[in-house]
Amino acid sequence: DIISTVEFNYSGDLLATGDKGGRVVIFQREQENKSRPHSRGEYNVYSTFQSHEPEFDYLKSLEIEEKINKIRWLPQQNAAHFLLSTNDKTIKLWKISERDKRAEGYNLKDEDGRLRDPFRITALRVPILKPMDLMVEASPRRIFANAHTYHINSISVNSDHETYLSADDLRINLWHLEITDRSFNIVDIKPANMEELTEVITAAEFHPHQCNVFVYSSSKGTIRLCDMRSSALCDRHSKFFEEPEDPSSRSFFSEIISSISDVKFSHSGRYMMTRDYLSVKVWDLNMESRPVETHQVHEYLRSKLCSLYENDCIFDKFECCWNGSDSAIMTGSYNNFFRMFDRDTRRDVTLEASRESSKPRASLKPRKVCTGGKRRKDEISVDSLDFNKKILHTAWHPVDNVIAVAATNNLYIFQDKIN
């Protein structure tokens, strides 16, 4: 099924993917062992479970998709792993735990589970825990429902590890992980008259270190940073990030391509990155007037905007991610291409995630899109790009140079070549 979200956990050992059918598949990294030195860091399926089911809203006569929009891991506090997964309306907290021991030697029941006749018991014994094949169980521990009228697009766990926010098109709610029947509305941009609606929330995230700070991006290309200490309802922003529009490049599509599809804080908390249709921008939280870096992802599409509008590709929501040291950023594009930008060396590369071009352990070959004129060998022209093959979701390991790229219904995991 089509993968709709990819997320590494805090240690990077687990990689969770959610798909359009409401399933979550978790991969675990193999431990290094001496017998297979080359299998360092291979990810194998650890657990699969059905997170969300399709629902029907009887009041509106509308179906609620079971597609997983976002998965966010909680920091690990004991042997079990916890993650939040959400579809359009409901957020669920899942506990993933391992069971590798089994008790044997019950008194009241046989090994196969049948109850023993009490009168037949002549002696007592203490059950012994014996190892068994590893079984990974996923159980829903909390269900946070009925708090969103519109479609949830983001969830973000707070640095206090007790609260998290969920954002839909017009509102952001703050939840406590233990409390499911109450949530606090902290942002509400719904106008009194819905006909005056011109802007929606597209993404939201908590600051990685300051538990009172979060940002949310809008469809008009603006980012608002809010401080929850200032007021209960954070409709008034503390900081407002917007790049002034370049009047020479104004067109009917300017607003649509300026709509921010993803916002991510850097690990350091000093910067944040936003993805709009054609570029990725890095912002310094201390400077609201313009981004400190702008990286063009697929500028060659600027002349094709009308066609992309026609086939709805212009509304695709690409995500972006930082690497562990905040020195590189990555985002996806069309034709199964994804782009990486090195902030230090100012170099960028286009890579392709496809079966044909990536054999195991072979290096990915950089790809190039030819924008016009003579097409060199190995280049691909803009007109032969496949706009159905889009990479919307990517994730970078929090520590190592391992990346996960979701190409429609395939997941590719690449890592640094070990010399």
Binding site: G21, G22, S47, T48, F49, Q50, P54, F56, K60, S61, L62, E63, I64, E66, D88, K95, A103, Y106, N107, L108, V126, P127, M135, E137, A138, S139, R141, H151, D169, L170, N193, E195, E196, L197, T198, E199, V200, S219, S249, R250, S251, F252, E255, I256, S303, K304, L305, C306, S307, Y309, E310, N311, D312, C313, F315, D383, S384, L385, D386, N388
Partner: protein
């Protein structure tokens, strides 16, 4: 959705001097309805660069009129009423486009009723007319960009309206997408009202009965505004608060049992807005000022000239179109549970031990 019939029955206007070349004037005269649409708005000015915006837009009016002659009515009809909602898959862009083509191919071809492909997009219009209108375009060589811009803008508007109207039936439409399309429509609307202003303030326009002008502006803007309540351009303040989206969904109400967008946007009754729609358009045309022609040049530079290469771009995208039955139906089928690890009990290690102790 009642068909807009008013303009079909309009009486032809008296013949007027038309400043363009003889052949096109004769062609224009053969279709008085179209003449009425354009003449009432275009002041008689000499063609050529010297007359700046007036001449350019007059020529544009003629050029577009030529291309719209047989299709204005049918185009409007198709855009507004024949949107094949049933054919369109949820969330799949390419089948949407091909479904538009299918309308034409299913054989509904009256002389008036061109295929959707021909009428909806400037690409189809321009290609079909290249052979016929070469002479016209030769005369208007320097003004070709003007007409192509208007055409493209009009096509963009049509496309946007169709996108908004085709609400998905089973699932709530994406609010962000709808808002962005609506903002685009508003932007085009504002620009078109600013462009069209000087036509409204032309001297002979004042002579005409208000009803004629109403009808003609309706023709001009029919596909542009569709069923929208008029959106006041900035600075007007005529008190109309109806946003452009308020009337869009009722277009499909005849076909759809409900308004999927009403959950996203609250709708007012569309019918009562119709009267105010005409009136406010009138006001807009009266009070707006002429747009600075140099701005238009700037805008032309943004025009997607590759837009006419729609075919070539889309041929690259045609492969792998998501087709098949509506995904909504598939989604309603019960999902099979995951075969493994769907553990019912939520016992941790400690609970497990407790259970063992309790058992004994």
């Amino acid at each position: 959705m009642p068909r807009p019939r008013g303009f079909e029955q309009e009486a032809p206007p008296p013949a007027r001097e038309w400043p363009i070349s003889g052949r096109s004037a004769r062609r224009a005269q053969r279709r008085p309805f179209v003449d009425a649409e354009w003449r009432s708005l275009a002041p008689p000015r000499a063609v050529g660069r010297s007359s700046l915006s007036g001449g350019k837009l007059a020529a544009a009016a003629v050029a577009v009129a030529e291309q719209r002659t047989r299709r204005a009515a049918s185009r409007v009809r198709i855009v507004v009423t024949k949107a094949p909602t049933a054919c369109w898959n949820r969330g799949s862009p390419l089948p949407r486009f091909s479904c538009g083509l299918r309308v034409g191919r299913t054989g509904r071809r009256d002389p008036d009723n061109r295929s959707l492909k021909d009428t909806m997009f400037a690409r189809g219009l321009k290609r079909k007319c290249v052979g016929h209108e070469e002479d016209v375009e030769g005369a208007l060589a320097g003004l070709k960009t003007v007409s192509s811009y208007s055409l493209q803008r009009q096509s963009l508007l049509d496309m946007s309206l169709v996108k908004l109207q085709l609400c998905h039936m089973l699932v709530e439409p994406n609010l962000c997408r709808s808002v962005l399309i609506a903002n685009t429509v508003r932007q085009i609307q504002e620009e078109m009202t600013q462009d069209g202003t000087w036509r409204a303030v032309a001297p002979q326009a004042a002579e005409r009965a208000p009803l004629d002008r109403l009808v003609s502006t309706e023709i001009l803007c029919r596909a542009a505004w569709g069923q929208e309540g008029a959106h006041p351009a900035p600075g007007l303040g005529d008190g109309h608060t109806q946003g452009p989206v308020s009337d869009l969904c009722p277009v499909t109400s005849a076909q759809a049992p409900r308004h999927p967008q009403s959950s996203a946007w609250e709708m007012d009754g569309p019918r009562e807005n119709r009267g105010s729609f005409h009136k406010s358009l009138d006001q807009i045309f009266e009070t707006l000022e002429t747009k600075n022609p140099s701005c238009m040049e700037e805008l032309f530079s943004d025009v997607d000239s590759p837009y006419y290469d729609l075919d070539t771009v889309l041929t690259g995208m045609m492969g792998g179109a998501r087709s098949g039955p509506c995904e909504g139906l598939e989604g309603l089928a019960p999902a099979t549970p995951a075969p493994s690890s769907s553990c019912k009990s939520d016992l941790g290690e400690l609970d497990h031990v407790v259970e063992i102790l309790v058992e004994t």
